[in-house]
Amino acid sequence: MQLTLWTYEGPPHVGAMRVATALEDVHYVLHAPQGDTYADLLFTMIERLPKRPPVTYTTFQARDLGGDTAELFKNAAREAHERFKPAAMMVGASCTAELIQDDPGGLAAALDLPIPVVALELPSYQKKENWGAAETFYQMVRGLAGPHAPAPGTPRPPRVAGAQPSCNILGPTALGFRHRDDVREIRGLLESIGVEVRVVAPQGATAADLARLGEADFNVVLYPETAGSTANWLQRNFGQQYTRTIPIGAIATREFIAEVADLAGIDPERAQAAGRSRAPWYSRSVDSTYLTGKRVFVFGDGTHAVAAARVAAEEFGFTVVGIGTYSREFAREVRAAADKYGVEPLITDDYLEVEARVAELQPELVLGTQMERHIAKRLGVPCAVISAPVHVQDFPARYAPQMGFEGANVLFDTWVHPLMMGLEEHLLGMFREDFEFHDGAAASHLGHGSSRPQPPEAISPIAMGEAAAAAAGLATSAPAGEPVAGELVWAADAQKELGKIPFFVRGKARRNTEAYASQHGVALITVETLYEAKAHYGR
């Protein structure tokens, strides 16, 4: 049993729903108790889809458990087929139905429907949403494209001379973080370098499209979380290579183009001329000097976290002080990235642990999910969202991809936006006593998204261990002269001097000073200690 306040991922059948909803003419019959229909609102409200997800629920109740829930399932499947006339059907169970063991796959087979029916086994008590989406996509592709696979061991015939190279784009689903815009961006990029995009799946694909996935020369995998297992299977069965580079950031987009050019057999130099981002120049512009070495904490799904950390380090000149993921399936990739930045990886789906880590690290920017946005807001740290789980704000009306050349521009804008601008930061530092520069005043360019530290009282013990709170310098409510951390005591003048430091670096200053004092056996922290610590640690 795991104590959970907020969860990063839903159950695996929600992953299956993301695939079903992405597909065009497929219906999902889900054996599930009354109440599980809540999942519809994820799609209709968060993503604002104008149609209901193509899902029929059996919504059994206690009185049905004594009777025949299997019959209930069969009726639901039969009626769903009659009403929606799908080209293919997925059947499965949610967590509760898994316990009553009605075998939706067997029941559906007994109905002998005139369409392909794919039975999903999604162990709800072990696995989560992304795994469920990947497994569902894989089972659908195996079920529909499988019959078209060549005999095992048949080498893939070379492309006909002069034929245009082609690919499929794999991975985008309903409720995906910016999938809608990433697909448009990458599709445009591929087409501009002369690669034909045959099928995008699951988003927008029909059952017939899945059946002909093997026709393209190779696959472009945008989201390994949902498409990794499918791409592997297609490689094994159809000899299709697939891309490994995730085109997030200007550098990775260049690498992605090189990889595609190689797979497609096209001139890499011409391909690279297809476009460019504005972001690299913006980053080199002197105005961006203030970004140098900003301490950033990165958390998200494996792919987005690793990509964001790289962009942060190599394109923004930030210092990655922490990286983590909630997807255990991608722990290896995240550990490797953590190694690269010399930091401790955080592999957890426990929101409290993430909060404690952020509090402990005191980053100047958090790149995370909506959960980290919440954490950052409470701790008064700027934050930009880089990954699912999604929120209604992650489906902007405007075009805002994360991938490709335009994606790199979007990253530049959205990551810089929450930060204090260069000169403004200096002015705040220099004229702390200006009455309009009080801590509650947001930077002038910040709108509703501005972050202000909340009063320490607002941070409750459940959200944060006391140790973490102290480490975060949130014990500032303790009056000067009283013990704060262990034996350390802040003299009143030192406390006052600390108050002159802008709030967005004050936590770090407090932490450094206390660490310095402990190391040097200083019991009473004075103004001098503060500056000695400053000299010791540098900025």
Partner: protein
């Protein structure tokens, strides 16, 4: 004249009206959803769902609007180790509760909330609660109820929670003077208005249940009279009646008429002189009427269709039909409690199409062919209907907004007028 003699009183409304009972896909929340308002109402209570990742995801998604507030609820997620018997579920639960209470020493009342999976694997949360109650005695009370979807629909979760809390109420002396207990969660401001109004009538001994703090549980006894603020509290009423309390039958305090009749039921039971009642209520009625009048033009004659959701559908339909002149196409409710809603049924216009339970696909067909001006439905259906040009009102807002009482009657009308107003404003905008 017709030869058939109709024995029903002429103005019995829908008291004996036929009800379309449907059993198909029910597009409704489970009772866990009630935690979203209950955890805010009882400020020192914590709700620990013992369930699956689905349960955690449901509450998080349904509470999406509140996700950035500090929650006083959590889920103990059952995993395959618990199911395989590798871990003793009770030991695990003790560990989780211990960790929780260590982090939240301010919690005085902990509910272990049963879910579909915990019910199906027959995890005995009642015994677990008793055991933990013994462990934390003197510090935190531990109770349990089920909010599972197999047993409860949406607002029934509150019913189950309050019914579980009833045995904790102190006993009122049998010789105690009669007291009035208002039962059901309403907004704090509404509760205060009600308490003020009843006191103004001379009913001094009046309290609300659930209380805002678990340490302020009202006493109950044979001289307690219960007045329900919400229609979905059948089990709670039964539990209170078992403690000797008497239920005062009344319509619900939605709209001017409903609030008047509701207060009148209490005034009658407490022998409030007619003049005193009139004196207290008349200005409130007048204020409510003039507030409602502002929306009458927008709503009169408009055709409304209710999908089942909170069990508030009948009182809402009665208000919209009688005070705003709306036409009721179909009034769907997840569960029709005839006894508690008897007074409401009498007030509904004769011939109103009532439905109980749901087959969502058929109901959508009926809705479409009825051609409503506005549809009251859950969040899963609202945008799909809007995209087809059908104006909707999210039903969940009716549970989360102060809509009860005289001074909220106009706000309630406005909630229905707003989507129509919006439709008119956006008339030139492409679909």
């Amino acid at each position: 004249m017709n030869a058939v003699i109709d024995f029903r009183p002429r103005d019995a409304g829908c008291a004996d009206a036929p009800v379309l009972r449907e059993r198909g896909q029910r597009e409704v929340f489970c009772g866990l959803t009630g935690i979203i308002w209950l955890h805010r109402k009882i400020q020192d209570a914590f709700f620990l769902v013992v369930g699956s990742r689905t349960c955690a995801h449901l509450i998080q998604s349904a509470a999406g609007v509140m996700i950035f507030a500090e929650p006083r609820f959590a889920t103990a997620i059952i995993d395959d180790r618990d199911l395989a018997g590798l871990a003793d579920a009770n030991d695990e639960l003790d560990r989780v509760v211990g960790r929780l209470l260590e982090r939240r020493p301010d919690i005085k009342l902990l509910f272990l909330v049963g879910s579909c999976p915990s019910e199906v694997i027959k995890l005995d949360l009642h015994r677990a609660a008793q055991r933990l109650d013994g462990v934390f005695r003197g510090r935190t009370r531990v109770l349990n109820y089920s909010g599972s979807g197999i047993e409860t629909t949406f607002t029934q979760g509150e019913d189950a929670c309050l019914a579980a809390l009833v045995p904790e109420l102190p006993a009122a002396a049998s010789a105690a003077a009669p007291d009035l207990l208002l039962v059901g969660t309403v907004a704090d401001i509404v509760e205060d208005q009600f308490l003020r109004t009843f006191r103004a009538m001379g009913i001094e001994r009046v309290a609300a249940f659930p209380p805002r703090r678990s340490t302020e549980l009202p006493a109950v006894g044979p001289n307690t009279r219960i007045l329900l603020t919400q229609p979905f509290l059948g089990d709670t009423v039964r539990a209170l009646e078992a403690r000797g309390a008497k239920h005062l039958a009344a319509p619900f305090p939605l709209g001017e008429e409903g609030t008047t009749l509701w207060m009148h039921a209490a005034a009658d039971a407490f022998n409030v002189p007619k003049a005193r009642f009139e004196q207290v209520v008349a200005p409130l009625q007048e204020r409510a009427r003039s507030g409602i009048a502002r929306y009458r033009e927008a709503l009169a004659g408009k055709r409304i269709f209710f999908f089942p959701d909170s069990q508030l559908e009948l009182p809402l339909a009665r208000f919209l039909s009688r005070e705003l002149g709306m036409q009721l196409l179909e009034v769907g409710t997840p569960y029709l409690h005839r006894q508690l809603l008897g007074k409401e049924l009498e007030l509904l216009p004769a011939g109103t199409a009532l439905s109980e339970g749901q087959d969502v696909e058929r109901q959508l067909d009926r809705c479409e062919s009825a051609g409503p001006d506005i549809v009251v439905c859950g969040l899963g259906l609202a945008n799909p209907l809007e995209s087809r040009g059908i104006t909707t009102k999210w039903s969940i807002e009716l549970v989360f907004s102060p809509i009860h009482g005289f001074d909220q009657a106009a706000d309630l009308a406005e909630l229905f007028a707003r989507p129509l107003n919006r439709r008119d404003r956006l008339v030139a905008l492409e679909r």
